[in-house]
Amino acid sequence: MQVAYYPGCTLASKAKAFDQTARWVAQKLDVELIELPQWQCCGGLVPQVTDTVMGLLAPIRILADAQAISDRLMTLCSFCYNTLKRANFAFQRDSERRQKVTDFLEQQYDGNLKVVHMLELIRDEIGFDTVRSKVTKPLTGVRVAPYYGCLLLRPPKEIGLDDPEDPTVMEQLLEALGCEVVDFPRKVECCGSFMIAHRPELAAQCSTTILRSASSFGAQLLVTSCPLCQFNLDWQQMRMLESNGEISPVPVIYFTQLMALAMGAEPHLLGFEQHLVDPRPTVMELGL
């Protein structure tokens, strides 16, 4: 299976571990990822007001470039996924803005490209049974909590990946890897998002609530698909561990890292050294 791939700026720098494990896992699952030959940042957020065109240019340019390669585009970062999918949604439905964007870009795009998240691709096309068959080190007994955050699920009318209040795609994946899934009530709550860039203390408060909840439900690892959720929870957890010990470490890793671990990737490929709260002691303790 071939699919166009858009890594996005954070996966090319601060979240390299996410990118490199995803590429490794894709290869294991016989998916050929074709990275766009040239790409730029998607803009991080899609404009939500009805008359803004500028914020659509970057994502639509990416979609137009992807259409030259494939009929669908895979992303991993929840922000990129949300931005590309919502920009596509607006482009498909708003003929006025569609015309303006097309005139400006001087690039042909028909709006028919499908934006897919790797989780979607695994669930809908590859199948959890295939994932299960590639597992060489089942994570039996490891208590992992899936953390979805916001942008992978919302707004449901435009994203439609899963049930916005009680999603199950990551749970199914974790089960396929042999993990014990920890369901906790804050799994779709916001981590404070980009508030970390201008009011870090507020983002910290949001993240604290999520970490306390996951920890109190006995999670040993948290799994996410968003580099910003990963950072916010990682950073705040580091501070909590340094200052008071009210929680035991719950390292926050990408679902692709966990997949690579269960599929027998070499430890140096996992990129665990890139995290603030090092997952390696936990992973060692669990005998993985």
Partner: protein, 136 residues
């Protein structure tokens, strides 16, 4: 308690119409159940909760809403949007409020700079998104 003076003149301002147009939402659909506010992750820090913003707009009190920090604390997590039983996209209303203020060059935007060691660490998507929200 603050006394609020209501008059029908306030209900048809250009700004109110602009908020409705930019957001594509019917502000009067809100029936104040408060579900948006119950789920708002940043409600604890805001001077107005989402349902209060909606109520003030219904009364045409745009000035009061523009004086509030609430729309600037909204990170568009879209929990309110997802849960509204009347289908009001509150996150879009918040963005319309920000957009009008940005376009008019007014508003109360403050860029807070995080500590230098954090700037070096945070993923670029956080900086990109924060500045996207704070600018046009």
């Amino acid at each position: 308690m603050t006394t609020v003076k209501l008059s029908s003149r306030r209900l048809s301002t250009d700004l109110l119409r602009e908020i409705e147009e930019l957001s594509g939402q019917n502000l009067y659909a809100c029936y104040q159940c408060g579900k948006c506010s119950a789920g708002c992750p940043l409600g604890f820090a805001a001077d107005l909760l989402p349902h209060q913003v909606m109520r003030l707009l219904q009364f045409g009190m745009v000035k009061e809403v523009f004086a509030s920090q609430a729309p600037w604390l909204c990170v568009a997590c879209m929990t309110c949007t997802t849960r509204c039983p009347k289908g009001v996209d509150v996150a879009k209303v918040m963005e319309a409020i920000r957009t009008i203020q940005l376009r008019e060059g007014r508003g109360n935007i403050q860029i807070f700079l995080p500590p230098a060691e954090l700037v070096a660490e945070i993923p670029q998507l956080a900086t990109v998104s924060a500045f996207r929200k704070m600018s046009l």
